[in-house]
């Protein structure tokens, strides 16, 4: 490879916890009736792994990403819990420290490149701006490094002189991935990075991300609604529903034996490309309005296993929130059906 790019010092891979969310709760709005977008979640990302965070619209996954980067916009604010990056709580950090932390240690790739790129500046200049905001570096060196990182994502260096609108959607997305990589962070958060792209481009980009990960050893928090994508690319997957994490497991385990009815339903919602063409049922109902979520287990209104005639179980399902428990090694589920004994 290129000698200018140096592997991060922590190259020998340890199974260290890089990022840990403990009981994180984020609300929108003050006083009267705030909306709990994220309700007491626990999550852990280890060094060098790809953790997928899957969920549908309104489940709070983007809020989680914003909370980690500490870019929550009022009226959203962290109510309780902590975001620990290598043991340090980000929630209590001052603005200055956060600025240094952002992009250097954790960077983010947004869904729409046009949200992240300045349309009236050339791509190269934006790189330079970003790099010079974080380290003392000359413009020429910054451009040189930018050119290198662009080549890593498969874009010719002459594109540095282009404006964002002159590039195709796939290229723009690659540019912002490159920008997220430029300072060699340890964690990259990707929020629906390929949703707006065609399937072929999507695969290209994800292959590239994997290759880069092998090269540089960063971890990825990959947020998407496309669970089938995560089954292929992620090492571990956490499933969010209505602001809570309902299940988390290594991808292979989740694909083989999903425990939570929502995960099961979600997996059922992806028609297969091979094998018999059977009728699928999906999941009845719709994701809840977080202003007024169901009591007890938030999924109970749509759960095929929530039946009033199972009185005791039903009572628990409608009044108690299930807690995330380790059902099998590395496999956590928040479901009354699971911790009550028996699958």
């Amino acid at each position: 490879m290129n000698t200018l790019m140096v592997e991060p010092a922590s190259a020998p891979v340890r199974t260290d916890t890089l990022l840990e969310l403990c009981g994180l709760t984020v609300e929108y709005g003050y006083g009267e009736k705030p909306v709990r977008a994220v309700d007491g979640i626990d999550l852990e990302i280890r060094q060098g792994e790809i953790l997928g965070l899957a969920g549908e619209s309104g489940c709070g996954k983007t809020t989680v990403a914003n909370a980690v980067m500490q870019i929550l916009r009022p009226p959203a604010h962290v109510v309780s819990g902590s975001v620990l990056f290598r043991g340090e709580d980000l929630v209590s950090k001052k603005t200055d420290e956060l600025r240094r932390f952002r992009w250097r240690n954790v960077s983010m790739v947004f869904q729409s490149a046009m949200n992240a790129l300045n349309p009236v500046m050339r791509v190269g200049d934006q790189f330079v701006d970003m790099m010079r905001a974080h380290e003392r570096i000359s413009k020429r060196r910054a451009l040189a490094e930018a050119a290198e990182v662009l080549e890593f994502v498969g874009i010719e260096r002459r594109r540095l002189r282009a404006y964002p609108h002159e590039l195709s959607g796939g290229m723009r997305q690659r540019v912002i991935i490159a920008m997220a990589l430029a300072l060699k962070p340890e964690l990259i958060i990707m929020d629906e990075p390929t949703t707006a792209l065609d399937v072929v481009v999507q695969r290209e980009i994800l292959q590239q991300v994997e290759a880069l990960k092998q090269n540089f050893g960063f971890a990825v928090l990959f947020i998407t609604h496309d669970l089938s994508l995560l089954l292929e690319f992620a090492d571990r997957i956490a499933i969010m529903y209505a602001g809570e994490i309902v299940e988390s497991a290594p991808s292979a385990d989740l694909a083989e034996s999903p425990q939570h009815p929502y995960s099961q339903g979600l997996l059922e919602s992806f028609p297969p490309l091979s094998g018999p063409r059977t009728r699928l049922t999906g999941i009845l109902g719709a994701p809840p309005d977080l202003r007024d979520p169901p009591s007890g287990c938030r999924f109970h209104t749509r759960c095929p296993h929530c039946l009033p005639d199972q009185v005791e179980l039903y009572r628990r399902q409608t009044t108690e929130r299930p807690r995330l428990r380790e059902a099998e090694p590395e496999h956590h589920v928040a479901c009354h059906l699971v911790d009550g004994g028996g699958e």
């Binding site: 003050y30 006083g31 549908e56 619209s57 983007t62 909370a67 500490q70 870019i71 929550l72 009022p74 009226p75 604010h77 962290v78 109510v79 309780s80 819990g81 902590s82 980000l90 929630v91 209590s92 950090k93 001052k94 603005t95 956060l98 869904q111 729409s112 949200n115 629906e192 949703t195 707006a196 609604h225």
Partner: protein, 324 residues
């Protein structure tokens, strides 16, 4: 914005809201009442309208009565706004004058807006030759300078009745709004729900009136308010120049006589001040209403609210809150 989030709420109209049980109020009315500027403006205009309506009951004398013994009196309890050179009561003139001025403004506004809406929206939706013809018409009317035209026309017209004035003013002002409404309609025309209506077999007329216009209510209301106050000012201006119907009572006519009789030079400020203040008050109300409509239509102008919230966040202690 994730693929699964809705497209941006159309700012030109708001869906109806429910008040209490079942009562449905058009969404934009609710928004208008919530906005401070438009609330104030609406209040001011409503006040004027009420005055105009009860004018015959509150004016002490016929506005044209003159009483030379009472001429040139400063405002007093007998004559709240004083009297003119001829002894006419200015208060009566102002409140009775409100009727004509407001009626004329509203009528001109309504006519111009109707023309602008129908022609502009149809041109946008139908396109083709119809669009070209209407555009041409619009351009012709736009290039005509309004004030000189009005001066010339009123100079030549035999009758200067209200009807004529309304038509003349509307004819001069419709083109400006037609262009704006056409532009707005163009952005709506390719929206899926319009295409869906077309695919259902809706006729052009129904689409223009039933699907497009209801989604442009706030812009049409804004057009009406704009033409209303320009008509008010234009009409007062013409009358001030002596080109209106001098036999009728209106603010402009009162101002005209005030000017002709050089009252200010004689230290009599009241014949000028009161009709002028009434005019200014009404126009201000309309302008505030317009500003409110604009704010309601364009979320980006709602800075006021955002700033208030930031101030609030300084005082509300948020446990463990992150600072940006």
């Amino acid at each position: 914005m994730s693929q699964l989030e809705p497209t941006i709420e159309l700012p030109l109209a708001a869906p109806p809201r429910r008040i209490g049980r079942g009562l449905r109020v058009p969404g934009w009315v609710v928004l208008l009442l919530q906005n401070r500027k438009s609330r104030l403006g609406l209040g001011m205009v409503a006040f004027m309208v009420i005055i105009a309506v009860i004018a015959p009951h509150i004016s002490v004398a016929h506005p044209n009565d003159f009483d030379l013994y009472a001429a040139r009196q400063a405002p007093s309890w007998n004559h709240l706004f004083g009297t003119t050179d001829q002894g006419s009561d200015i208060f009566s003139q102002v409140v009775m004058g409100a009727r004509r001025s407001l009626l004329l403004g509203a009528a001109a506004g309504a006519l111009a807006t109707a023309l602008a809406a129908i022609l502009g929206i149809t041109a946008a939706y139908v396109g083709g030759i119809v669009d070209e013809v209407i555009n041409f018409l619009t351009n012709v009317f736009l290039t005509i300078p309004p004030i000189p035209l009005l001066v010339v026309v009123s100079g030549y017209l035999a009758s200067r009745s209200m009807g004529t004035m309304v038509v003349v003013i509307a004819a001069v002002l419709w083109a400006f709004e037609a262009r704006i409404l056409r532009g707005q309609a163009l952005t709506l025309k390719s929206r899926d729900f319009i295409l869906a209506a077309k695919a259902s077999g809706e006729s052009t007329r129904r689409i223009v009136f039933g699907e497009l216009m209801p989604n442009m209510i706030s812009r049409i209301a804004a057009a009406f308010v704009l033409v209303f106050y320009i008509a008010l000012l234009t009409d007062a201006g013409l009358e001030f120049l002596g080109l209106g119907d001098m036999t009728k009572t209106s603010w402009g006519v009162t101002l005209y006589w005030a000017q002709v009789n050089s009252t200010v030079l004689q230290g009599e400020w009241w014949p000028f001040f009161f009709p002028g203040a009434a005019l200014a008050f009404t126009v201000l109300g309309l302008v505030l209403l317009l500003a409110g409509i604009d704010e309601v239509s364009n979320p980006k102008l709602r800075t006021e609210r955002r700033q208030r919230r930031r101030l609030l966040s300084l005082f509300v202690p948020a446990r463990g809150a992150a600072r940006r």
